[in-house]
Amino acid sequence: MIQLRNIQKSFGNQLVLKGIDLTVNKGEVVSILGPSGSGKTTLLRCINFLERPNEGQVIVDDFKVNSKQANKKEILTLRKKTAMVFQQYNLFKHKTVIENVMEGLIIVQKQPKETARKLAMEVIEKVGLTEKANAYPVQLSGGQQQRVGIARALALNPEVILLDEPTSALDPELVFEVLEVIKRIADEGITMIIVTHEVSFAKDVSDYIVFMDQGEVVEEGIPTVIFNNPKEERTKRFFKRINREEDNLESNLTNAI
């Protein structure tokens, strides 16, 4: 179980997270939606202390970290319980696909090389990149790189995988293959917190939706309620705008044809 209590974060004078509380149960997939600048990525990065919250607690699997007193060792322990998938993939450029996946297993988890290699191959197969195991990241498409990013996170067998806009940097035709992989591992019961702009994907894959705006949680609940019956004005406006954009796109396309 992952719990966030009163997470606050400011950059300079600007308060970007105004005290966020969130509980994610084991096996749940939670999507965080919201307009850009709402603080959703910052919130995700606070969970593994890539950004250190100014205030609040992060609890992962009964391990509690107070943002104020947290020392290096606690942060390290927290990070070993989590894994992250980045918007820009951030694969280790000087390592091949399989080395990327093995790195954490060998260096952080101290597994023997052969065990690590076997485990890495299994995960790489799961994301459908067996033939690319010995390629360098630069030789892969964006979609393939992101699937390696997911494999790297998955191999660590973390309590939770944090996905930070995993498809935002991808060409539109590559989005699908990544979403499909995420969907597949979601079905395996892996706990995930996803920051995304893909509303229909979020609807499809999530057990729970959190809608954020201006550094606070505006509304949260199960997808059918949030999408079909949002209570808050800001949530309604957000979905209306997104629907309108999709409609516009479609009519533009029709006009073009």
Binding site: L76, R79, F86, K93, H94, V108, A135, A153, L156
Partner: protein
């Protein structure tokens, strides 16, 4: 004055015998300087309290003065210090028993350290911040992330600069002749004064330096190809 072309070749073979010493005076400082450079870089990047300013001063002063001064300051200053210390603590060493070469290597190591630290620092800063974040996100310690992820990429980025500093130090090693080291330039000097053919001897020495430089450029090109395989797409 007539130029004695055949003598250039005679001088060439004679001077060439001094190559090992030139290599020592070039490579030893670069290797020690590399280690110093890593240390200084880490202190400056992490802004380690207390010694951070000292590190800045070191880089600023050593890069702000010619290598010749470093050799002179160490060669003239250090013996005074050693003799004074020996007297105070009743050690049995005397500065005159220390080979001059050691002072030269010490001085040039300090010089190299300052230049190396700037090269390594630039390399580390050029590595994408996301690489460090990815390493941290999988639970690596700062040291592990530096050693396994950031540093190897920083060195690959720095390779052209490291080649430049090698060539620079190959040429800088020539000033060791000032304190009577018989490296290439020192040897050229001896050959020149023994035969009273100065121009010929220095042409020969110049040719040797040039040849060495060309070879090291070729070697770097090969190294660069190998180290940056991951950056070029193409073959794995």
């Amino acid at each position: 004055m007539q130029i004695d072309i055949p003598f250039i070749f005679t001088a060439l073979t004679e001077i060439f015998k001094a190559l090992p010493l030139t290599m020592i005076i070039t490579l030893v400082p670069l290797m020690i300087g590399f280690l110093i450079g890593i240390g200084i870089t880490l202190i400056r990047i992490r802004k380690v309290k207390g010694i951070y300013r000292l590190a800045n001063f070191y880089v600023s002063f050593l890069r702000g003065t010619p290598a010749l001064m470093h050799i002179m300051l160490i060669y003239l200053g250090l013996p005074l210090l050693i003799d004074k210390m020996a007297e105070t603590f009743h050690w049995s060493i005397q500065s005159t028993s220390i080979p001059i070469l050691l002072f030269v290597l010490m001085a040039l190591s300090l010089t190299a350290g300052a230049y190396m630290s700037e090269i390594i620092r630039a390399g580390i800063l050029a590595v994408d911040q996301g690489q460090l974040e990815a390493a941290e996100s999988i639970g690596m310690t700062g040291f592990q992330a530096m050693r396994r992820i950031v540093f190897p990429q920083a060195i690959a980025i720095s390779l052209p600069n490291l080649c430049n500093i090698f060539i620079g130090f190959l040429h800088t090693s020539s000033i060791a002749f000032i304190v009577s080291q018989k490296e290439l330039t020192g040897a050229a000097n001896i050959v020149a004064s023994n035969n009273l053919k100065f121009l010929e001897a220095y042409i020969a020495a110049a040719l040797i330096y040039w040849g060495l430089t060309i070879i090291s450029e070729k070697v770097t090109a090969l190294l660069e190809k190998r180290v940056t395989v991951y950056n070029r797409g193409g073959v794995a």
